[in-house]
Amino acid sequence: MAASTLTAGPTAPAAPVVVTTKRPVPPGRIAANVLFGVLGAVVFVCSAFPVYWMVSSSFLPTNLVRATVPTFFPGSDFTVDNYVRAVTDDTRADFLPALQTSLTVTFLTLVAALVIAFLASVAIGRYRFRGRKQFIVAILVVQMIPGEAMLLTYFQLIDGWGMLNMVFGLTILYVAMVLPFTVWTLRGFVTAVPVELEEAAMIDGCSRTRAFWKVTFPLLAPGLVSTGVFAFIQAWNEFVLALVIMSRPESMTLPVWLRTFQQATKATDYGALMAGSVLVAIPVIVFFLFVQGRMTGGLVSGAVKG
């Protein structure tokens, strides 16, 4: 501020000159910018409206949810009744056990997948060995196998091991589900850490293991975090396997629990269903915003080069 007041005097006369040398924006350009602005607003409304509608409906009293003229903003009718009903209604499966199952399965999947994938990614990212290429091909191919086609086989398999409706049974399936992409992603982070750093530490007297833990591992931490978040989101959102493996009301996960709002015998309580949907969606949306910067860069840089 002080600097500009000091220089204001001498530069003031020059100001009109600056304005005239600036080419005026052609009217067509302005019209185009307005058009793009409007289109941007349309894109925003189209993508955000369903999310807004879910949240907005979840705070409406039942008489306004079931009204021929919908309410677009809860305003003074704001209520949390729907949340209370969603969580406490005992004609359906209970919320808290489902939350507990979801949290447990997701957490175990996350930890197991990260440990296993980390070891494998170090192997293929840091070493050349016989069978390396085959392993990478296997990882990529496995990712493309439609698990949906194999639901019955998974059911038989888990049933045969006596692990239906057990957290462990679902967890091992989830670990297998997220493993290929966690390995592949972590491998990218491993190769991005210069091996010279590790070698320098070894020249300074570190053992190889120590050099890895003290130098390379801290640099991999961001990779582990964002890979972990994605493993979390996949396991948290998964619906189909959970539907088949965890069919008992007391062992359902949250997405399966969400489906119990729809019953053949009575009208769906949409207010409570939207409250439930919000509860399931919140952790994912929070984590998504958390890692959003890292999501697409790699696919692009790899593909442009090829």
């Binding site: 602005g37 607003a41 925003f44 189209c46 993508s47 955000a48 999310v51 879910m54 009204a67 440990v115 494998a120 192997a123 070493y127 050349r128 990478i136 296997a138 191919v141 196998i145 439609p146 949906e148 086609a149 019955l152 086989t153 038989q156 398999l157 091992i172 670990v175 589900m177 493993l179 992409f181 992603t185 190769t191 991005a192 091996v195 070698e199 190889r208 990779g223 989101i233 959102n237 189909v240 969400l258 489906r259 729809q262 949409y270 269903l273 949907s277 919000v278 969606a281 949306i285 998504f288 890692v291 959003q292 999501m295 697409t296 860069g297 790699g298 840089s301 790899g302 080069k305 090829g306």
Partner: protein, 318 residues
């Protein structure tokens, strides 16, 4: 087993710098030790189930076998039954038809949104990014429930808005009891969920097109359309192909959305896509052999489509 369309990717340097290795002896068993847990998981939970699926597909495996009777080998009978049944082709045609429309719409809209984001100012671009992220982050089941609610017959906001806009009475219109409008709603859901990933990836790719090249072509008199098709598209060609392959696979595999939407609308037979149909065949009729053969056919189709993606991704490794 739906793959999140958003596997995080490593920083770009990963692909710029050639893969490095510690100077280890070639015969070191260490990397194999590191791979053992991953290999064990894949062997027990992927290779073994696939083997089991293959075996079942050659067997008569019905209710009796589920209760302990030894399965009977029937050779290729299940496959013959699948490949000669009109139902299989009807479901396949339905799935492929839906996939084609969904992929074309998702790719077109995603690309247009990416081009729009390039033109927008900082504030508007942020707004669009937030909207897309919200759509992207929604769990599949929550999404289906919300759209089901918006398209509700009596109290849905869509019927209300349509009545206001068109003037004719849409109140009481059921969207999910007729196959065509069922697929319209399903398509909206799938496209809504799919556009953000395409838009973000295309945006990231298009912003890497050198500005100098675009400016030079502009001076040479190329209009926006020519610049798009003759400079930007060729530059991001391999991204586009990978995105198309991934979308094709995801939209053919669509399961949770179909299944949950069927639960809302109550229309099952005429709306099942491949995965759902196989599942219903197996559970409803208890004919696991038939379902297994159909599943093998589906896995085979998927792997065939993904060959290109696997090859393209392997290139990154070299």
């Amino acid at each position: 087993m739906t793959t999140t369309p958003a596997a995080p990717k490593a920083p770009p340097e990963a692909f710029v710098r050639p893969p490095q290795e510690l100077r280890t002896k070639k015969s070191s068993p260490f990397p194999y030790a590191l791979l053992t847990p991953a290999l064990a998981v894949l062997a027990v939970l992927v290779a073994w189930p696939i083997l089991k699926l293959l075996v079942t597909s050659f067997q008569e495996y019905g209710r009796a076998q589920a209760f302990g009777a030894p399965p009977e080998w029937v050779g290729l009978d299940n496959y013959v039954e699948v490949l000669t049944s009109g139902e299989f082709y009807a479901v396949l045609a339905r799935s492929v038809g839906f996939m084609v429309v969904a992929v074309v719409l998702t790719m077109t809209l995603g690309t247009l949104v990416a081009l729009l984001m390039i033109r927008l100012g900082k504030a508007m671009r942020m707004l669009v990014t937030v909207g897309l992220l919200l759509a992207w982050a929604m769990p599949a089941l929550s999404t289906v429930m919300v759209w089901g609610w918006m398209f509700d017959t009596r109290y849905g906001v869509v019927n209300y808005l349509l009545t206001q806009v068109t003037g004719s009475d849409w109140a009481g219109h059921s969207w999910l009891i007729e196959p065509l409008s069922f697929f319209l709603v399903l398509g909206l859901i799938v496209v809504w969920m799919g556009v953000p990933f395409i838009a973000f990836t295309m945006y990231a790719g298009l912003t890497q097109v050198p500005v100098e090249t675009l400016e030079a072509s502009q001076l040479d008199g190329a209009n926006a359309r020519q610049r798009f098709f003759q400079i930007q598209v060729p530059f991001v060609r391999s991204i586009i192909i990978v995105l198309i392959v991934l979308s094709v696979i995801w939209d053919l595999r669509v399961f949770a959305q179909v299944y949950a939407l069927q639960g809302i609308g109550g229309l099952y037979e005429k709306t099942s896509t491949l995965g759902v149909w196989i599942y219903q065949k197996g559970t409803a009729s208890g004919d696991f052999g038939f379902a297994a053969a159909a599943a093998v056919v589906m896995v085979f189709i998927m792997l065939l489509i993904s060959l290109y993606y696997v090859r393209q991704t392997l290139k990154e490794d070299d």
